[in-house]
């Protein structure tokens, strides 16, 4: 048994928001449950109410189109991974989703859940940062958009408040070609949390490159955009590495030492850039 709590499965987002707002810090949103249920088991969280949002109609969207791409907050990662159009448009997003945990867990875990858990190592964070994705957040006060770039406020902390329900994650419209990629360094090939992860989005027509790095600071870090016009791949790589080193502050933990993270980050970034800039996957 994972503790004593009440369980509610509201029929609408409004109802979910109300339940969550009423219960405040005593409630938790149950979506995929792959982080929450582990926390319940080890006692690190003990909410009195779980609000199951998994079946809410509004959270099931999954579409790509000329205007935007939408991933409902309750869509399991495997469904995201298996979505062909999404992969065509955002290969890095599909790869990031695929890198998470195991096939079984990806049938439960969601993109929104991975973000809201706010682990510094969250695999969905770097790619959604470089895509400048936004969360649609509904609360008793109404609906608002929250940029992923504004979401993380600390280790396991977000700007979301009790009563907030993430409805979906939206990627801005594709304006010309966009090449995206995700890379993750782990201890073993089997399922693992990221020692370091990173994502890149490169828009050749606008000569813009965006890069984000995870697991190297209290929150995932989005680097300032890079202007690639007239820059050689080598010079660009050097610039990205410099910026990444300056913007991150890895720590020692059981997964890796700060030194290893610092040592492996340049290789990871170089490979990531090769993925998007040369459009040819490196090793």
């Amino acid at each position: 048994m994972l503790g004593r709590f009440e369980y509610a499965r509201p029929k609408t987002v409004d109802e979910a928001c109300r339940l969550l707002a009423e219960a405040g810090r005593d409630a938790a949103i149950l979506s995929g449950g792959t982080d929450l249920l582990v926390d319940l088991r080890n006692g690190s969280r003990s909410p009195l109410l779980l609000v199951d949002v998994k079946r809410l109609e509004e959270l099931q969207a999954l579409r790509t189109g000329p205007d935007e791409a939408v991933i409902g907050a309750a869509v399991p990662l495997n469904v995201v991974v298996e979505h062909r159009e999404l992969r065509k448009a955002y290969a890095g997003l599909s790869d990031a989703a695929l890198s998470i945990a195991t096939y079984q867990l990806r049938n439960r875990a969601t993109v929104a859940g991975n973000l809201c858990n706010a682990s510094p190592a969250a695999d969905m964070a770097p790619i959604l940062l470089v895509l400048d994705a936004k969360l649609t957040v509904q609360s008793p006060q109404g609906t608002r958009a929250v940029r992923v770039a504004k979401l993380f406020t600390g280790v396991k902390r977000t700007c979301l408040a009790p009563g907030d329900v993430v409805v979906d994650v939206r990627m801005p419209p594709l304006d010309g070609e966009l090449r995206t990629a995700f890379r993750k360094q782990q201890r073993i090939r089997g399922h693992d949390l990221a020692v370091v992860n990173a994502a890149a989005a490169y828009a050749p027509s606008r000569a813009t490159l965006r890069v984000a790095v995870g697991s190297c600071a209290p929150t995932p870090v989005l680097l300032e955009p890079f202007d690639t016009k007239g820059t050689s791949p080598e010079a660009l790589a050097a610039e990205v590495l410099r910026a990444a080193a300056a913007a991150t502050a890895p720590i020692d933990d059981v997964r890796a030492s700060a030194a290893y993270r610092r040592a492996v980050l340049p290789a990871l970034l170089r490979r990531l850039l090769a993925d998007v800039v040369s459009a040819r996957r490196a090793v």
Binding site: R187, R189, H191, V254, A263, L268
Partner: protein
């Protein structure tokens, strides 16, 4: 005349597979009984502390709680070779994770709630975490009472008032003189961290204390009779008062040998008025509370001639026993008598110290210390070869044990030992040794090849024995009863093959009990040390012969010929040369009935037994003697690729040769090799306990203790089983179960040197470790 074998050697599918693929196989985890209580533990947050006060009042008051016990209630010491362990910590705690208080309650949730209400006051005391520090004078004593502990006398030599639980000496020849004469010298140090067995079924036990003083136990164990015996010793109960059932066991690898949770659930059941009590370790407890594999620090010195012959070898092995050494002392002993590798070493000096520290304790783990000592030896052999300018395979060929050589304990190497050099040659050929690796696809990668030898003998008491019973059924089929445990190896299938072969019945007509029950299945010491097929095989052969003797006696009477003129074939008996007159076993199995109703004979029940023979204790001062019933030799060849930018290693191919003597079941033997190799890769590349400064285990879960998954396999695995017969083995067989795991890290380490030119001395060879050494050496990708 020898008959062609019908079943032995064939890939007969395992007999329990259908139960296991349908989910109907019952493990201790799955068992429940009416009125059964569930147990939970309060464990120590400190690595070393005095227990000042234990307050269980709030816990005991919780509705549904039926028993709460602390160490103060239990004045019992437990252990197989060294009685140094408590059921629950008493007065002091010696490692973080040690059980302090146990609760039995109506449900697991209540038991866990109750545990949260237990208040224990500790006074932290000085701890020692590195066994080398623990050997220094003035080190905190983990067991101040060591001098008073009962232990196996004449075999183990604890040093009172130190942390040394056992000191094993091996002395052969004149090391000092020989090393002085050596033309080439090598000295090196190596380290292994403690690791976990990680059986998929964690430890689980159920006990019921019966009103008449008897106790019934169901347990996930490798050792039904050893559990019974040690329970008897611990609680002063007659053996017959203790009944131990072992249903299916979800993996053991040594971690479920000896005595584990059985005493705990027994005392809880007693305290709870005799209701059955079940305890299942959580995965975190499996890592943090239950035993692991000891760490090791090795110092090795090798002296050789310019011609490439080893003249002297000295090794100091310091084992990190953790807080208890009840089993670990024997690891330190066994690994010492194997501690020079499978080489002819004329002058040898080995000190093996099993040393207490304030960490989770060690026990047997597949390979029993040999993976650890051979990590050092086989890396040192490679280094010595390079100093000599010799190919490491060639250097090994010049020094491997051959006919007439003496081992370091003075045993003569004979043809019956098998052929280590054939193992070496087989793996060398399989990895194209001598041919450089092809170029990797990426410029940041490096490739290399490495070879390592392995050897091991069963580590067991000199009088280890086992037995088997075969009963014939009404339909003439045979039932085998044994108390060795098949916790995955497939030995039961092998025993069925042997019985079918010997009894001359179809394999489908041979059955074996999948549950051991000390009330009904006959004695077996315990299922460890790769000796079950060897010893159990002998016992089954003898039991089958006993059945045939009984069948022949009845048939002889029926046919009016001498018993030795009776032929048993096709599940029937007939006079030699007259197969048409055959009487099927089913008409003899319970006794033969003549047409007039007269009956002769009676139920056919055969029994067989086997006892280790010719073994001696090792001389306390020199280690000379005969410790081994048989030796199994083998080798690995590895080709790998390492990413110089990330430190990741990929095994391109690994060839493993083991001299099995005789392969009894090709499919099962292959399964042991592949499974062992992958487990060895786990030890080589990823696995190892990490402790913080206070001695707390930092990675007690699958989140941070990684074992190989299906994504982590080598690109190619090549098992090679040689068949140079063991003269006293069943059909010439010797044990092969542990061996494939041994020396996998060594071969990988040697290949890594070949790839990078860096000597790795400690495990695991994780990406982080590899990259750190590359950085230290200034190697640029």
């Amino acid at each position: 005349m020898t008959r062609a074998l019908v079943y032995v050697g064939k890939s007969v599918p395992r007999d329990d597979a259908v139960e296991k693929v349908t989910g109907s196989a019952r493990y201790t985890h799955d068992l429940a009984f009416p009125g059964m209580l569930h147990a939970a533990l309060v464990t120590s947050p400190h690595a070393s502390a005095r227990i000042v006060r234990v307050d269980v009042a709030d816990a005991a008051a919780l509705p549904g709680v039926r028993a709460v016990l602390a160490g103060a209630n239990l004045d019992v010491r437990l252990g197989l070779y060294m009685r140094d362990k408590r059921i629950l910590a008493r007065d002091v705690v010696r490692y973080q994770g040690e059980p302090v208080v146990a609760v039995a309650a109506d449900t697991l949730d209540i038991a866990r709630d109750a545990c949260r209400r237990v208040r224990v006051e500790y006074e932290p005391t000085a701890a020692v975490f590195d066994p080398r520090d623990a050997m220094k004078s003035g080190a905190p004593l983990v067991h101040p009472d060591l001098g008073s502990y009962a232990h196996l006398e004449g075999v183990f030599f604890p040093r009172p008032n130190t942390n040394i639980a056992h000191h094993q000496k091996i002395r052969k020849g004149d090391f000092d003189a020989a090393i002085a004469s050596a033309e080439v010298l090598l000295e090196a140090r190596f380290d292994n961290p403690p690791v976990q067995h990680v059986p998929m079924e964690t430890h689980a036990s159920i006990a019921q204390a019966l009103p008449d003083g008897r106790v019934e136990i169901w347990t996930s164990s490798q050792s039904p009779y050893t559990v019974r015996h040690l329970m008897s010793v611990a609680f002063g109960l007659p053996h017959a008062a203790i009944r131990v059932h072992v249903p299916y066991v979800g993996g053991g690898f040594g971690g479920k040998a000896g005595l584990n949770l059985e005493p705990l659930v027994y005392v809880l059941s007693k305290a709870a008025g005799g209701r059955p009590v079940k305890f299942v370790a959580t995965r975190e407890q499996e890592f943090n509370t239950l035993p692991s594999r000891q760490g090791l620090h090795s110092t090795i010195k090798i002296g050789a001639t310019r011609a490439g012959k080893i003249v002297a070898l000295k090794a100091t092995y310091v084992w990190d026993a953790g807080a208890y050494a009840d089993y670990g002392v024997n690891v330190g002993r066994a690994a010492a008598y194997s501690g020079a590798g499978p080489y002819a070493v004329p002058n040898c000096w080995i000190d093996s110290f099993v040393v207490y520290t304030n960490k989770v304790y060690g026990t047997a783990y597949r390979g029993f210390g040999h993976l650890e000592v051979l990590w050092g030896i086989e890396r040192a052999i490679d280094q010595t070869a390079r100093k000599l300018g010799l190919d490491p395979a060639e250097f090994r060929r010049r020094n491997l044990l051959t006919l007439g050589d003496a081992t370091i304990t003075g045993e003569t190497f004979t043809a019956g030992h098998g052929k280590p050099v054939e193992c070496l040659d087989a793996v060398a050929k399989a990895i194209d040794w001598g041919t450089p690796s092809s170029s990797p696809a990426s410029s940041t990668k490096r490739r290399g090849k490495g070879i390592a030898m392995l050897h091991k003998a069963p580590a067991m008491p000199t009088s280890t024995s086992c037995s088997a019973i075969i009963k014939l059924d009404e339909d003439g089929a045979a039932d085998i009863l044994v108390s060795g445990v098949d916790y995955g190896q497939g030995t039961y299938t092998v025993l069925r093959q042997i019985a079918a072969e010997e009894l001359r019945v179809p394999i489908d007509a041979v059955h074996i009990n999948s549950d051991c029950d000390t009330a009904f299945t006959p004695y077996d010491w315990q299922t460890v040390a790769s000796r079950f097929s060897y010893m159990g095989g002998h016992a089954v052969i003898e039991a089958a012969a006993d059945c045939l003797r009984q069948i022949r006696a009845v048939a002889a009477q029926i046919f009016g010929v001498a018993p030795e003129k009776i032929v048993c074939e096709n599940a029937s008996a007939y006079p030699d040369g007259e197969p048409k007159r055959a009487i099927p076993y089913r008409l003899l199995a319970l006794g033969y009935v003549y047409p007039n109703g007269n009956a002769i004979g009676g139920p056919v029940i055969g029994h067989g037994r086997f006892i280790a023979h010719g073994l001696t204790h090792l001389d306390p001062d020199t280690g000379q003697g005969r410790p081994a019933q048989f030796w199994t030799y083998g080798a690995h060849g590895v080709e790998l690729e390492v990413d110089a930018e990330t430190g990741e290693i990929e095994i391109l191919r690994i060839a493993t040769a083991v001299d099995a003597g005789k392969v009894l079941n090709a499919g099962l033997a292959r399964g042991q090799v592949i499974g062992g190799v992958v487990q060895g890769i786990g030890s080589a590349l990823w696995e190892g306990f990490r402790f913080d400064k206070e001695g707390r285990l930092k990675n007690p879960s699958f989140v941070d203790y990684k074992i190989p998954t299906a994504k982590d396999l080598p690109r190619e695995m090549v098992p090679i089983l040689l068949e140079n017969p063991q003269p006293d083995g069943p059909y010439g067989a010797r044990g092969v179960a542990e061996h494939p795991m041994i020396s996998v890290p060594s071969a990988i380490g040697n290949a890594l040197y070949d790839a990078l030119g860096i000597e790795f001395t400690s495990l695991p060879l994780s990406p982080e470790h590899v990259l750190a050494r590359l950085a230290e050496k200034g190697v640029k990708p």
